[in-house]
């Protein structure tokens, strides 16, 4: 091997390593800053708070990772969270008086059915969007921008604009319960992240996702069903949004049409902060988890320091841009 090749290689290795570590370094720096300004930040209670707060949009960000890996985008996730949460609520309550009567005596159904309803609603909605993107070649931005309005509208229709609240204990456990010291949503997030990581790194499907994002033409020429992958990925983020909607309804003990507002941007931010390229093909679940944590730490830390809400908006924006700039700076150094 020539020196030049050796150089190329060592640069590539440094690129790979630092590229992965950049978001983590930034996260740790942020934690250190907050902890030094307010020691209570490091209380276990607060750390679990952060994890719990991160978990719902974290679940969605995991789905968003797949979408962005294939150079797509999904703006409808926030609306899907609201819609699927209301689906779960309607089933859990056995319907809404005067609108839907799902059970004859007006009693609710088991939480499992409610969860299924939310997940099914999310997945089907995602699948429909995937069809439009993959088969009709409508840009994902447009499809999901439309979806955002449609699903929000369906959510308003289901709840007639108002919230549906008050579920049984078993339903509420999924959002508010604990296993030992660990909140249940955190465990769900961890499970979703782990499964997604395995799928992306160890299976044919994961490889196809990276291939489609890295070079769709090459993927097609290598026999990969690009439309099929696209479709599955949008169904997958629909699934994640449905699951997130169910957990959010459980956590809030209420489902409403305005729930999940802005989740799409938080999820996209988590993915991008985590080092997944908006141009597709590089990145992964591990980065997204760190990106989600970083977002969570940021929002939590600023509130704990009682920073004025006006100033907060400035800081959040600046820090997100700084995090991504830091990531890109390190990657460019090794290009």
């Amino acid at each position: 091997m020539t020196k030049a090749q050796a150089d190329e290689l060592s640069r590539a290795r440094m690129y790979a390593l630092l590229g992965k570590l950049a978001p983590l370094i930034f996260l740790l720096a942020l934690v250190i800053i907050f902890a030094s300004l307010q020691p209570r930040f490091l209380l276990p209670l607060n750390l679990f708070n952060i994890l719990r707060q991160v978990s719902i949009y974290g679940i969605i960000a995991i789905g968003m990772t797949f979408v962005i890996l294939i150079r797509g985008i999904d703006l409808s996730v926030g609306a899907l969270v609201a819609m699927s949460g209301l689906c779960a609520a309607v089933v859990a309550k056995g319907g809404i008086e005067g609108r839907f009567m799902l059970s004859a005596d007006g009693s609710g159904y088991h939480w499992a059915l409610a969860a299924l309803a939310a997940i099914l609603a999310g997945t089907v909605a995602g699948l429909l969007q995937g069809m439009a993107v993959a088969w009709l070649s409508v840009p994902a931005f447009v499809v999901t921008l439309g979806g955002m309005t449609v699903f929000r509208g369906i959510a308003l229709t289901i709840g007639n604009g108002g919230p549906i609240s008050g579920f049984d204990e078993a339903f509420g456990w999924w959002g508010r319960g604990m296993i030992g010291p660990v909140p249940v949503p955190v465990l769900i997030f961890a499970a979703v992240a782990l499964i997604a990581w395995v799928v992306l790194t160890q299976t044919r499907f994961g490889r196809a996702v990276y291939a489609v994002g890295s070079n769709p033409d090459a993927a097609r020429l290598s026999g990969i069903n690009v439309s099929g992958v696209t479709l599955s990925v949008y169904a997958l983020i629909g699934f994640c949004s449905g699951l997130g909607g169910f957990v959010l309804a459980s956590r809030l003990n209420s489902a409403e049409a305005v729930a999940g507002t802005g989740y799409e941007l938080t999820a996209i931010a988590a993915v991008v902060i985590g080092g997944t390229s908006l141009y597709g093909g590089t990145g992964g679940v591990a980065g997204t988890v760190i990106g989600a944590l970083l977002t969570g730490v940021l929002l939590n830390g600023l509130v704990i320091l009682n920073v004025s809400p006006y100033t907060q908006q400035i800081l959040v924006g600046l820090i997100i841009v700084a995090a991504v700039a830091f990531d890109h700076f390190i990657k460019r150094q090794s290009r």
Binding site: E256, L299, L305, Q313
Partner: protein, 324 residues
């Protein structure tokens, strides 16, 4: 755009003329059929859903009143377009909760010029003196009632967490201002230990409260929230920390969920602005004018907000809907 608006308005006027409607409408008569366009801010807020539902119910009671509803979708252009369409269709009256007080003024003036009576509800439009009435509750006054409820319950002072609405939003500012006015005036024994934006949403209210409770060394005595959703989110966070009953939480809006929570003790109080009453008043005022030409005594029909606690729960408008 401007040109099109003008053309639309002009054709609306022409149509009105062709149908023989005079620019200043004469009373139509006691039992005349009346068509009214209702354009609430958005149906995404239960407040307006309830307001519209009650308004329709009142219209039914009056009889012979057709209500056409157009969702404002928090968009001034949407509302403008809806009103322009209504002018063309030749409705008799318009009830409007304007998204923007200034942006809606010209089209409201056009409607009035075309002989259509206009009542604003929940919030006024700016600079159109010919609006028949503005039926509203004052957010600032309501927040004062919220603050007074706190002072009444904690005469010796309290540590207070303040959950604000969307930063920069007018309602958020008014409610924040009203509460501050009362509590700041009540002396230094009332301390705001944390003030954060919860963006009027339940999940954000929950998250922010969780974070505040962790960040504070001592548990606050009071949480005031600029709407019920945030208050209910805060109640979740307080419950999760095992502090239920130790923190008094004050909501705002008098929503069903909040009333239930007041009843169960999860919330200390909420503020009822009586949206249903606003809706009923708006439609009855408008129909009375269209049919009989009677004007309200004042163009400002103010509904006084009331802080609802467990003691005066029966005063709440939606208490009938929360069951036993």
């Amino acid at each position: 755009m401007l040109k099109r608006t003008f053309l639309l308005a002009a054709s609306g006027l022409a149509l009105a003329g062709a149908l023989g409607l005079p620019a200043a409408a004469e009373p139509k008569g006691k039992d005349a059929e009346v068509t009214i366009l209702v354009s609430p801010l958005t149906f995404a807020f239960p407040h307006f859903v309830f307001l519209t539902d009650e308004l329709k119910d009142e219209a039914n009671k009056l009889g012979g009143v057709t209500i056409v509803v157009a969702d404002g979708q928090l968009s001034a252009p949407k509302q403008i377009a809806d009103i322009e369409a209504a002018i063309v269709q030749g409705v008799d009256g318009i009830i409007l909760a304007p998204v923007e007080a200034d942006a809606l003024a010209p089209v409201v003036q056009q409607a009035i010029d075309a002989g259509i009576a206009v009542v604003t509800v929940d919030r006024p439009v700016n600079g159109v003196p010919d609006v028949l009435a503005n039926v509203a509750a004052d957010n600032f006054k309501g927040a004062e009632a919220q603050g007074e409820a706190v002072v009444k319950a904690f005469p010796d002072g309290a540590t207070i967490v303040n959950l604000q609405g969307i930063p920069g939003d007018k309602t958020a500012n008014d409610r924040n201002g009203g509460a501050h006015k009362v509590l700041d005036a009540a002396g230094e024994k009332y301390v705001f230990v944390a003030e954060q934006a919860g963006n009027f949403s339940r999940d954000k209210g929950l998250e922010v409260t969780e974070n505040i409770l962790t960040g504070l060394a001592e548990v606050p005595q009071v949480i005031i929230a600029a709407n019920d959703d945030m208050a209910l989110g805060a109640a979740q966070a307080v419950d999760a920390r095992g502090l239920k009953g130790k923190v008094a939480i004050y909501g705002y809006d008098g929503s069903e969920d909040a009333l239930k929570a007041v009843k169960s003790g999860d919330l200390a109080a909420t503020v009822d602005q009586f949206p249903g009453l606003q809706g009923r008043t708006a439609v009855s005022t408008l129909v009375a004018f269209i049919r009989e030409g009677t004007r309200p005594e004042s163009a400002e029909v103010l509904v006084a907000p009331v802080a609802i606690t467990a003691d005066n729960l029966d005063q709440a408008e939606r208490v009938g809907q929360i069951g036993e």
